[in-house]
Symmetry: C2
Subunit: 402 residues, 2 copies
Amino acid sequence: MAFPAKATHQQTRAHNAALVLRALYDHGPISRADVARLTGLTRTTVGDVVGGLMGEGLAHEIGRGPSTGGKAPILLEVVDASRDVIGIDLGEFVFRAALLDLRGRVQRTVEREVGGLDGKRSIEVVHELVAELIAARRSGTAGLLGIGVGTPGIVDADTGTIRWAVNLEWHNLRLGELLAERYGVPVRVANDSRAAALALVTFSRPRPQNLVAIKVGRGIGAGLVIGSELFHGDGFGAGEIGHTVVDIDGSECRCGRFGCLETVASSRAIVTAALAAAREEPDSVLADRISPAGELTLEDVRAALDAGDASALRVVARAGRYLGQVIAGLIGVLDIERIVLHGSVSRLGRPWLDAVRDEARQQSLQLLSQDVSIELAPAIGDLVVMGASALLLTDELGLAVA
Amino acid sequence: MAFPAKATHQQTRAHNAALVLRALYDHGPISRADVARLTGLTRTTVGDVVGGLMGEGLAHEIGRGPSTGGKAPILLEVVDASRDVIGIDLGEFVFRAALLDLRGRVQRTVEREVGGLDGKRSIEVVHELVAELIAARRSGTAGLLGIGVGTPGIVDADTGTIRWAVNLEWHNLRLGELLAERYGVPVRVANDSRAAALALVTFSRPRPQNLVAIKVGRGIGAGLVIGSELFHGDGFGAGEIGHTVVDIDGSECRCGRFGCLETVASSRAIVTAALAAAREEPDSVLADRISPAGELTLEDVRAALDAGDASALRVVARAGRYLGQVIAGLIGVLDIERIVLHGSVSRLGRPWLDAVRDEARQQSLQLLSQDVSIELAPAIGDLVVMGASALLLTDELGLAVA
């Protein structure tokens, strides 16, 4: 605990407003009296703050609740549609931007394929997507809380600078500043795996206390939630498990080292291994699905799995086991019992998940792993886009903690 | 952030008292006005609380500071000797108990060798040590804040139950309850690696924000400090890195699996490897030091290192590299820049430390590892005993956060 700086009246007001808004958000419909009980604020303060929130259109009265003796209390709730946020997922093949309400519900989505684009052109695509969404709002940027971006790579979330995103060829790109200057709204940028973890904290109920959300796609990264807050690490690199070395004799990784988890467990690694396996077994379902150009996709691997193809199963199980090994390390370090998997590879489903779980259990202390649950992420929507929007809910409204 | 329960007047008073005491502890000698500034409390509240603390003997006035215009302010500080705490380190060969003041300074130490004792006899030894220290206090248990215990194994710190401590043959031992019933004072029990980390947060200045303190002895464990608080994990197993598998073809670990870090990097692993190396090189310094009973100690390995013995260096570097590999994983997961090593193996000094550092850097992302410092713990005293005492400073006075 650091000492709080002496709070000014203005800070106290903002703090109280965030407390009340959060009580409405998490517990609404709720009466003023119950908000006072939950927050520890006086009824007078709650009344004042609620008045302010209603004036700003953030909260409204929805009628009377059941009476508990006296007059039935008036119930309040957050007006979910009173503000919106632009959330952006700078994905491996597609950039997707969406307009979301205060519950992370998507109102409108625009996207562009970006495979093969260079770094400069990629930034232009981001601008196009944002401009398109703003144009679609009748009110321009009025009522827009801001823009949140989830991106692969290592991101300085304080300044919105992408320090390193290898597949986008971005180095020390001040994306947050670029967007804020152009659109005149607050902008927050975070690593995509961390944004996804924030989505789970912000939009799932009950809010998880400790959780690790692992995104397994072309890259592999984890978002760490500790005490219902996102943990960034000292250099915004917490959760960079994709570059844990799991095979000292392994192949070269795009980070320059050898045998990183990404070289054996990412979407690309799986497709590459599947192609090799298919060529060794020309009668397999996998071999059947090789395209005229000599290629396979993750979808092909999944189809082969569904058809019970043994070589597909072998390839997928091997990738899953490597991930399980790294998860075992995570369990040992953090002893966090709730681990959630998402990203393109997680669509491989059960055979992959079983291999991950099995290896994670075998490789970790039984006393620690017995209570661990490793699950696919709940299907609450596009986690990165939602998490990117949640970055703004935090900063602008105090609804989450990032 | 969870909603705070509505605070009662009593809770508010206790909270304010802890805030003020902590300001005195961290920033004393300090004036009442500066305490008010630091804590955000009103001068009236600070005056009341300080009066209470002085009445309890926890704080006193030490005279006037320099004037900044008006009348020179009266300075206050914590009376470090006003309370004491018993801190206990249930070490691998020795149980050590000490009486410490509020700064973790040891006033008196008692210890017993425990090598070879069974679980039941070990508990009796703990009782003997505590009884001896209490007998040495003229006032019995008056003014004694409580008893803190640092133990190997997995500990439920909420209930003071040792869930599993393999070398002590303890399973689900309710040590906290046993001691509290017998001595009638508060008791806190924590894993020794975590206690050591707490000592570094409580007694070193400035208080570290994020830190990993790794104890490398017969067992290997890490204490994780996140946001100046100890992180326990969901099942009090955070930091259990000793059972990370680093060598799939390795030898059996006392946990029942194979190739855990402890099988290659603990004190015992190093001594065993040194003995094997010495037998292969009968002319080495190491071989010279083999006892008539055919044994080597860690001290012998250190002496051979000092003499520049090549096989000792090889053995120690290998153990260090395995630890470095696991630290690289930690860096990837947590991105914590300050890593501190302690425990018996750390006395091997530079050749070992160099191997740890070198491997940790090679195995982790350069962007993350470039800012990492891996150092031997500062020589501020017996970290486990100090950390065990700090457990009480937390609970009883609010001076630290465990």
